[in-house]
């Protein structure tokens, strides 16, 4: 099944592309203590070509639901059961999953039916269950997903509007910056788990997340490039992108982030002359990169030195002090990262060791959603929102955040690292970008975004090392010079997770844990994705995996296949199955229609690397430099005291290419 979203000015419509024989194969679990009813209903469902599982006991049913995460699409439960009240089961299932539950009972008393409704049952069927009712039972599944998709939308829209960004109508970056600032402030205020938790609450309020897959981001970037960053308005971008699944609000949000990222990292290339005539673009980069390099300073790390070494001459931060301050800020930033885990920029190894890749990868759904939410909120146009969670860590660019790019499961490291380095190289070559972040780690540092060639080389080398964990922990996986070794893999501290991934090519999750299910994918902007079950179903339905097939039989086929879509790995969050999946982690964006392009570590399209047009960079850089607000940026990146000014003010030397 595919879920495509039609964007546009209004609420997006989720169109499910259903397989021809839908709802055949719909997996239904029927719970009833009456064997007669069970037999009858089973036959009914069977005749409707549903995939039926019966269970005479509620506790058994609950175990089945728990064990087979994503193994069912719909639950039918009797109300009066000896071992457990049907409403209790409903409540439990509702709290642990997002499965639609239908109550069935011979009791048609108003109070009982009311209880079903208030407890969240999607329907109440009075026995005897008729085939007419069963035939259209699938509607509840569809509706649920539809609702989830819609829920994702408003959040972004709200965010966008909050930022006073006329949703793309306003082409003034300055204004955007303002709004970003405001938005960032708001985000700051909202940062924290509360909001995430709120967001995670019932679907209607849940922030929808548009997962900016690599393809999507590419389309976005090329649209922005064509339009010119200063002229790029969400509406036009949306038109150019011509992607049905996103709305103008999504684009606007993404644009903000992108702009911020570009500004910060001068990604758009050196060629853009900044007002100061310097390669402004690189200035921040340099600063960032150096900053990144220094990252979380692991004691004993020769970061400063390494940095120096790594950085190209001109790029070297003139002022180590500045760098340090930046680093400090980074640290602070990280500390403030919404995800407590990520808050600090810690050496990759450290953070990694501390957490275990698994933990990182396994970001609990909550974490992710929180993170994503944070990202969303902080989507103060920085596009690079620091990931809210670990995931954001890796992804400087919000989009990437969604994919736990940065968090490369250890198991997936080899793939990721290679992928990353490949991407990095590509990106570098294509963009004349010295400071490209080939690895997620770099991306994660986001801030740094750009690295010196040397640095890049080193990084690349590092990256290619197996088990380089690009994503690294949420905590700043800074790429400590010393950490460039195989161990570090994290190229950059995930200071601004968002940033690193901003670079299109790299931003996509290189390897997210395959445990998609357990990971809440984050949209590009870190929005939380629907709960696991739904995500899984979504993944399944939209065929996030290439081999996904929408036939009923495959509805769950990908569930365990580790469709990691945009899983943002919150720092230290646990990715339940991350360990299970080795090898390429797919960063598929289950949410978006495009996600079928599941961004896998191996799939990073080269084109995605060509993200930053010069003009865009220039404009962004200029404006960015003019802009005062670190605050804004900070917010985006979850930087608390990170001063972009410092970074920006850094005047780098000629960019080594």
């Amino acid at each position: 099944m595919e879920i495509s979203r039609r964007g546009g000015a209004g609420p997006s419509l989720v169109t499910l592309k259903l397989p021809m024989d839908f709802p055949a194969g719909l997996r239904v679990l029927v719970v009833d203590d009456d064997p007669l009813c069970l037999k009858t209903i089973e036959k009914l469902l069977w005749n409707c070509h549903y995939d039926v599982t019966t269970c005479p006991r509620a506790d058994t049913a609950l175990s089945m639901v728990r064990d087979r995460k994503g193994g069912f699409d719909l639950i039918m439960s009797d109300v009066h059961m000896p071992d457990m009240d049907g409403f209790k089961l409903l409540e439990l299932i509702g709290s642990e999953t997002d499965l639609p539950v239908i109550m069935i009972s011979a009791d048609d008393g108003k109070d009982v039916v009311m209880k079903g409704v208030t407890n969240g049952a999607v329907d109440y069927i009075v026995k005897p269950v008729r085939i007419e009712a069963v035939k259209i039972m699938w509607q509840h599944v569809v509706r649920k997903y539809q609702r989830k998709e819609k829920v994702l939308e408003p959040v972004e829209c709200a965010e966008e509007e909050k930022k006073a960004d006329e949703n793309g109508e306003n082409t003034s970056l300055a204004e955007d910056d303002e709004s970003w600032k405001n938005g960032n402030r708001k985000k700051d205020e909202n940062d924290g788990e509360d909001e995430d938790e709120q967001r995670e609450d019932s679907p209607p309020l849940k922030k929808p997340r548009v997962v900016w897959s690599q393809e999507l981001h590419q389309a976005f970037v090329s649209a922005v490039t064509r339009l010119g960053i200063d002229k790029a308005v969400p509406k036009k971008i949306l038109e150019m992108m011509d992607v049905p699944a996103i709305t103008r609000e999504n684009v606007a949000s993404h644009l903000q982030k992108y702009r911020l990222f570009v500004k910060k990292n001068n990604i758009l290339g050196d060629q853009k002359q900044l007002s100061d005539g310097t390669r402004a673009g690189y200035a921040p980069v340099n600063s960032v990169s150096s900053f990144d390099l220094q990252g979380p300073h692991i004691p004993g790390q020769h970061m400063p030195q390494n940095q120096m070494n790594l950085r190209s001459g001109p790029r070297q931060l003139a002022a180590t002090g500045t760098t340090l301050s930046l680093l400090d800020r980074m640290n602070r930033f990280n500390s403030n990262a919404q995800n407590s885990n990520t808050s600090r920029i810690v050496p990759w190894e450290q953070s990694f060791n501390n957490r275990q890749m698994n933990s990182i990868l396994r970001s609990p759904t909550n974490m992710e959603s929180r993170q994503s939410q944070q990202v969303l909120q902080s989507d103060s146009n920085l596009g690079l929102q620091a990931t809210q969670g670990t995931s954001s860590f890796l992804d400087p660019f919000p989009m990437s955040t969604n994919f736990a790019f940065n968090l490369t499961p250890s198991s997936a490291c080899p793939v990721n690292s290679i992928q990353q380095s490949r991407q990095f190289d590509q990106f570098r070559q294509q963009n004349n970008f010295t400071a490209d972040v080939s690895t997620r780690g770099q991306l994660m540092n986001g801030i740094s975004g750009e690295l010196d060639d040397m640095l890049l080389s080193n990084l690349c080398q590092q990256i290619t090392t197996p088990n380089s964990h690009v994503g690294g922990t949420s905590a700043a996986e800074t790429l400590l010079p010393s950490s460039y070794g195989s161990a570090s893999q994290t190229l950059y501290p995930c200071v601004g997770d968002n940033y690193t991934n901003a670079l299109a090519g790299n931003s996509f999750p290189l390897a997210t844990s395959t445990a998609t299910r357990d990971i809440l994918p984050l949209g590009m902007f870190g929005e939380t994705v629907p709960p696991r079950s739904e995500i899984e179903l979504l993944d399944h339905m939209i065929g996030s995996k290439p081999e996904d097939n929408f036939a009923p039989n495959h509805w769950n086929s990908n569930r365990n296949t580790g469709i990691e879509s945009n899983v943002v790995m919150p720092n230290g969050t646990e990715t339940p199955d991350c360990n299970k999946f080795t090898g390429a982690v797919q960063c598929s964006n289950s949410i978006t229609a495009e996600s079928s392009a599941a961004v896998t570590t191996n799939d990073v399209p080269q084109s995605s690397i060509n993200v930053f047009p010069n003009e865009l960079k220039n404009v962004v850089s200029d404006q960015f430099l003019q802009q005062e607000g670190i605050g804004v940026i900070d917010t985006e990146l979850n930087y608390e005291a990170f001063s972009m000014d410092d970074i920006l003010n850094y005047t780098p030397g000629p960019l080594p290419m």
Binding site: C37, K39, P128
Partner: protein, 151 residues
């Protein structure tokens, strides 16, 4: 010939069930569910019902003998019986279950007793009829290709 005669008999019998209110629409639903994959589905379901309902009635009878009556428990049993009887379309039995539950809700012992007696009667009658019906179907089957009893 014989088979068609049997078929007519079966059809007439079934029709009487509906006319007299022993069975309702749900029974047709069961028949609809019967297919090549489950050629004896209806018979199996009915057999299951008769077995379970008989057992449940026995339990209820025991509960009824207890004093004081546990009406809540009786209500629960009746609810179960109502559920199963509705699943096969045993209309009269189902209706009597509803009535019984109403009496339980009122703690109307007398009403419960009367209702229960009626319930047992209805159940016995239905059991008899259904058994005869399926016996007839079996004969039909042996007489020729077994077919779904016509509506």
């Amino acid at each position: 010939m014989e088979r068609s005669s049997l078929q007519n008999q079966a059809a007439a019998m079934k029709k009487s069930f509906f006319d007299q209110g022993y069975l309702d629409e749900q029974f047709y639903q069961l028949e609809e569910l019967q297919d090549d994959a489950s050629p004896n589905f209806v018979e199996e379901v009915v057999a299951l019902f008769l077995r379970d309902s008989s057992r449940l009635i026995g339990i209820i009878e025991q509960a009824m003998d207890k004093h004081p009556q546990d009406y809540r428990k009786l209500e629960t049993y009746m609810h179960q019986l109502k559920g199963s009887s509705s699943s096969i379309g045993a209309l009269k039995v189902k209706n009597e279950c509803t009535h019984f539950r109403e009496c339980c809700a009122e703690d109307n012992l007398e009403g419960c007793l009367r209702s229960f007696q009626k319930l047992k009667r209805e159940h016995a009658i239905l059991k008899q009829k259904l058994e005869a019906y399926f016996q007839l179907l079996k004969q039909m089957g042996s007489a020729g290709k077994a077919t779904k009893s016509g509506k």
